[in-house]
Symmetry: D2
Subunit: 316 residues, 4 copies
């Protein structure tokens, strides 16, 4: 059918790899203000104070940095079946895995870069212990009042060898929609932002200039206000966390952003979209040109070089 | 199928009636900071600076106040057909109308109160004149920097005789989902908040204690920050606009709110939800009890009496 | 000389009495986000993260609640001498005390209510331990990122039997200036706000309707933004702290306010004045009438009854 | 006497020169949101919505850009006499001028660069016309709800050939206090921030690398929140105003800043200091080293080259 599908409900979680698991854990708990909900083997499960699931970040000890896998929850069991059928028809399917502390069995697929995506419907809702019960019953957990107090996972950004290929994988395979893109004068796609919700993007991906497949650019947590992000910058400064760029406003998607590196080397963003939503069902992707990108960010900040080169794992 | 549907894309617009059309227009343009996109016969078409459609508010001169009709845009033409089929099966259908300056033909239906709902897919995108073209191409219009600068329509609230009936109408007929409810000790439903997007509600409705069918409670426009709402309160004060209650935070839905009366007597809200979204496809409605409601709003503000009694048109 | 004096530099600290010293201490440290800098005998010394002195709050265990003493630092040793001369000429002087952990010897005086005021010049600058050293050398201490993160002491409010008498005591005895007042139709003064800085007030005092001398109304800590106060309200809610009124904007002085009761029963305010300052050397006091006060606060919030009646210690 | 003096009350106004008077006026009124209070000959008098005097900015048509004069109001007539005595003793006095629409006679003095300073006590309070009367009587004017809505003048920054000389002129001649400084490894002073109020600085001056005497760096208006500055950046972007740098946080003084060029070429800043005040009477100036300055601004933003080179009038 030509009618746009609505099979994915939202970004579920991202698995981050780190060679400094203790320092990374301290960063996410003490500085970002996230809550640990459990651990098994080499992984610790973490979440923002209003994430409804057991976890939105799986932090896994590894010999290096980067992304383990990315997971989306489907809208229904039927929606999951439709996606599997489509992914297998594309030859992108990898088959089922058992799931972990945070959710039931999940179906895995991959793009040409080899980034691993999981789709699942059976999940585990977070149940706060007594000391973390919120005062208002329509909130997942008590507000921590610690560090940056990130509210919920927002999106992630991957580095890919072929932007057009990953866009096709997410549009056809996952049933997502592209809202904004960067297309170079050569016609080559340099980046794309796609969504499966009313957020203007749930995942973005940009061209890896090193040509290395499967790398990670950043994961983003949302806060309620731009003021929260300005304060987060103070907190990162006080904790000696490397601030790469921001706070500033992106021209693309107009997101107010702040980028830092967690101890394991992975880039982490805290962002606020204000009241901006993607409501039009027939939105035509915004195409940004090379000349427009050269202008820098919304208010004129030049994009720092490392933003184009730093990815995880680092290129040997 | 038991699978939840996704047939409505978003709240499209609300038609407000006013016996003081000139004063009401000045309020929406000068104080709220909205933009007029056109007028015909007795109506003026208005929108917030980031509303993508031709209008989200149709202000119509009338002998009294209240709501003319409420319109939702569907996700696709097929989705519109599915809704019509369901509404007619329920006996709630009223048939087609031609549409107006803002959109093409629309199908009308009604709840037991007789509130008129329109469903349409064919719409008219707003095209800003040269002086209102935005600096960033992913924005509908230039930021006005005038008055309260409301960004986009957010939701509306209707007064109904039978909350359960309207909830059934919106859930079955419109394919919407209920996220929060108020249920009295008697078991009678006193209010419900339903959504067709990732916003936690697109329409709410509360019991009309006067038993008068078809009345209107308020329409709400969203701004990017709570700070914008605090400033809006200053602006309403300077313009002699009656502030009914707020700024404060609702316990239900946790929306930061500010309610005023426009010159025609209709209640208007400016609200900010922060980063709160409804992402879970299997969210179970939060039920608020009489005792919980008696506690007042989130931070303890008692709900003002007029919030329970004032609706439009006024009861003779 | 008729030339206005500038002998007081700023409000130094307030001594609060509490019959629940442990709970009160937890409130100020964990919820307010203040830092303990020392303790002796029955007192704990506390400060906000940007207070430059050793302490701005002296919390003293007692059989009841209320204020122990209020201290102002003078502009110079000569200024202190001038004040003592004036206070003794008024018959308000009480003589010297040795000081405590936070400052050197101080001269004590009292108003007719018997509220004890200390004047001192010799002070102790706060020296942060290594783990609390700030990233920026022009800041007193590292930003705590805990609880409400109050920045600095702002002002206090006393309940007095005779507003005119205390105003005379502060104007002549302390060399302070009155910026705003409430005068009843009877001509009786009901409240006054006086300053010794460019803040629009450093101390306020309102008529004690019970006629009980020497009681305390509240002490206030400042934060950088109104958004900080909205978040503080969430944090108080989560911690079960009683929110008396706010967040809202005062008509008098236009301060954005939030009032709570600490465990010992004393009222505490978190406030933000924005960029408002008292710069005019010849400012004429603003006089608020009974009718103007009856309108409630800036945006229409009615003043809660307890705000007029609750003081510490409670009236037997 | 060694006791610090308090003879200046506050920065009164700055006279800016522009070769594009009409465009500059439109910028200050429409974009900055300032109010015109009068005009005579080649000048237009402007102010922010809470400036209590007739004007804080005198915009004068000229063949070039730069600063005409800088004026401070004294604390009293006696204070003005004391300053004149000191300035004449230093050989820095220039004698009396008649004043203009905004204030009575004023005494002029100059630093070695030849920047002209005026001192006055007799001033003209702003009296709003009926349509600009505020809702609250403790406010100078109605909130405009237009453009950036700047509240009040905050400070200015001059380029000087010899920083130490101007610092001496302001400390001895004007009785001001230095709160922060930049001292190069060579021992040469590169910049200083001095105050005559509880603001941490009312005037700053930095070394002119071109060695040209008498140039202007920027004038600054204050807003109530950092959010106001983020929105101002959107407004400047929409109006095609050149944003030089920011929004970001200075390491020196920790001011949240945004710098733009008005049509005449003069640099204008919108700033917010939060609740930061200079309360200590014995504050020791913070000395920033070359190495510390090389780190850039508070959150790591590198200082743009033009910030060191662009001044008005431009160097031929």
């Amino acid at each position: 059918m030509t009618e746009p599908r609505h099979d994915l409900a939202h970004l579920g979680h991202v698995e981050l790899l780190t060679a400094k698991p203790d320092e990374s854990l301290r960063f996410f708990v003490d500085v970002m203000g996230m809550t640990e909900s459990g651990r098994d083997r080499d992984s610790v499960y973490l979440r923002g104070w209003d994430d409804y699931e057991f976890h939105t970040l799986k932090l896994t000890a590894s010999h290096t940095s980067g992304v383990g896998h990315v997971a989306f929850r489907t809208w229904s069991p039927e929606a999951l079946d439709r996606r599997i059928h489509e992914l297998e028809a594309m030859g992108a399917g990898l088959g089922w895995v058992d799931g972990d502390l945070g959710h039931g069995r999940a179906y895995r697929a991959r793009n040409a870069d080899g980034h691993v995506f999981e789709l699942y419907y059976d999940t585990r809702w977070y149940e706060p212990p007594p000391e973390l019960r919120p005062a208002l019953k329509n909130q997942a957990q008590r507000y921590p009042a610690r560090g940056c107090n990130v509210r919920r996972i927002d999106h992630l950004n991957l580095l890919v060898v072929d932007v057009a290929e990953t866009r096709h994988f997410l549009e056809r395979g996952m049933g997502m929609r592209t809202t904004e893109m960067i297309v170079l004068d050569s016609g080559v796609e340099a980046g794309a932002w796609v969504t499966c919700t009313n957020k203007t993007y749930d995942i973005a991906f940009t061209k890896d200039h090193t040509g290395t497949p499967g790398r990670f650019h950043h994961v983003t947590y949302a806060v309620d206000s731009r003021e929260d992000i300005l304060r987060a910058a103070d907190i990162f400064l006080e904790h000696g966390v490397h601030i790469e760029t921001g706070p500033h406003k992106h021209a693309v998607q107009q997101t107010f952003f702040l980028y830092v590196y967690e101890p394991g080397g992975n880039r982490v963003e805290i962002a606020c979209a204000g009241a901006r939503l993607m409501l039009a069902p027939d939105w035509k992707p915004i195409i940004w040109t090379q000349a427009e990108r050269a202008k820098g960010q919304a208010w004129g900040l030049k994009t720092v070089e490392s933003f184009h080169t730093h990815g995880t794992p680092p290129v040997a």
